[in-house]
């Protein structure tokens, strides 16, 4: 399940538009399965995006974000060839990251 983030970063002028698609169940802890048992909460709590070594976005997430979240943001001052990294941490302590080169 883990190990899957798809990132694309497209440059327009000096602004890079980054689109990241993450694979995650994002269970709220409120749902029940077909047998009536509660499905334990499992969701991303923190997302950090970096350009090179510099943190450009830091966000705290919760159970209200959808399954397989899609995140889009813009980074000013980006150049072609810069590396964008997106990393998440979830409530179970699992983590995943992915990177893309600005084009």
């Amino acid at each position: 399940m883990a190990g899957q983030i798809r990132i694309r970063a497209k440059l327009e002028g000096d602004v890079a538009e980054v689109k990241a698609l993450m694979r995650h169940p994002m269970e709220t802890g409120q749902r029940k399965d077909s047998a009536g048992n509660k499905i334990p909460a499992h969701f991303i709590t923190q997302v950090i995006a970096k350009m090179g070594d510099k943190v450009v976005l830091e966000s705290q997430w919760g159970a209200a974000v959808s399954q397989n979240p899609f995140l889009s943001f813009r980074v000013k001052g980006a150049k072609a060839g810069d590396t964008i990294t997106v990393e998440w941490l979830d409530n179970k302590g699992e983590t995943d990251s992915g990177e893309a080169v600005v084009k």
Partner: protein
């Protein structure tokens, strides 16, 4: 008095008319905007990658992969196979859809029992997808851009179409519903969901080419077989079994009506 009042009414009528048009566009396909934002980033790509791995992975008592599985174009040929299914298979002497063909390969190539192969084709709430869903997504994606071309040469293929057609119009169940009740008129919808007119090339094409699809509301990829089963459930019919004759006939009716439309699966849907 009447003459004086008429122009006023006309103006009001026109305003309402315009309002109607605008809200119709917004309501017609609110998911089009969502799709435009996502671009090529359909979460189904993760499922498709999983399917590609499953296709190559040895499985079952015989430890065989699906790579020798014949989907109609020869053993192991995946490209373009989905656009020509359901079709007649000489080895089983049956018309089969992709799901029934995968069950067949699980049994014959991998040596798995029919019960095990059919144990759980479709996900329930809280699941992250099934083997069948992943395989179907991967295989359907290998037909992207190809025109839907179900063969109609073999007598059983023609019979499947005819049976599908009669099932489509057959009213049954406590609500006296047929598929045609919802799907034989154009430009209708249930709540926000557009209903394709499956009796036309355009409607059947739009529907057939976009399944399997990632359902945003469910966070899962759903297959055409699931869609059929779910429609049957909404009609309060006995549960349609995946890969059954009824499902295959209905798919054949729809796929033949969709002839020539380019495949665009996996789709992205409500």
């Amino acid at each position: 008095m009447i003459i004086k009042r008429l122009p006023k009414l006309k103006v009001i009528g026109l305003c309402l008319g315009l309002f109607g048009v605008n809200s119709a566009i917004a309501q017609d396909d609110p998911f089009a905007e969502y799709r435009a934002m996502m671009g090529d980033d359909n979460p189904a790509i993760f499922v498709s990658e999983e399917g590609a791995d499953l296709w190559q992975a040895p499985n079952g008592p015989k430890q065989a992969s699906f790579e020798q599985c014949d989907l109609g174009l020869g053993p192991g040929i995946v490209e373009g196979a989905y656009a020509q299914l359901p079709r007649y298979f000489a080895d089983t002497q049956q018309v089969m859809d992709l799901e029934s063909r995968l069950f067949y390969c699980m049994e014959t190539l991998q040596g798995r029992s029919p019960e095990e192969a059919r144990k759980k084709p479709y996900s329930s709430t809280g699941d992250m997808g099934t083997e069948i869903e992943a395989l179907v997504t991967y295989i359907a994606e290998q037909s992207t851009g190809m025109p839907i071309a179900l063969p109609q040469q073999h007598p059983l293929e023609i019979a499947a179409y005819e049976q599908g057609k009669s099932l489509f119009y057959y009213r049954a169940g406590p609500h006296d519903f047929s598929c045609a009740t919802c799907h034989r008129q154009s430009d209708k919808r249930i709540r926000l969901q557009n209903l394709p007119n499956l009796t036309t090339n355009e409607g059947a094409g739009a529907a057939y080419s976009s399944w399997p699809a990632y359902r945003i509301s469910q966070g899962l990829v759903r297959t055409m077989g699931w869609r059929m089963q779910s429609c049957g459930r909404q009609q309060r019919l006995p549960e349609l079994q995946p890969g059954s004759e009824a499902v295959i006939s209905l798919m054949t009716f729809m796929g033949v009506n969709a002839k020539g439309t380019e495949m665009a699966a996996p789709g992205l849907k409500r």
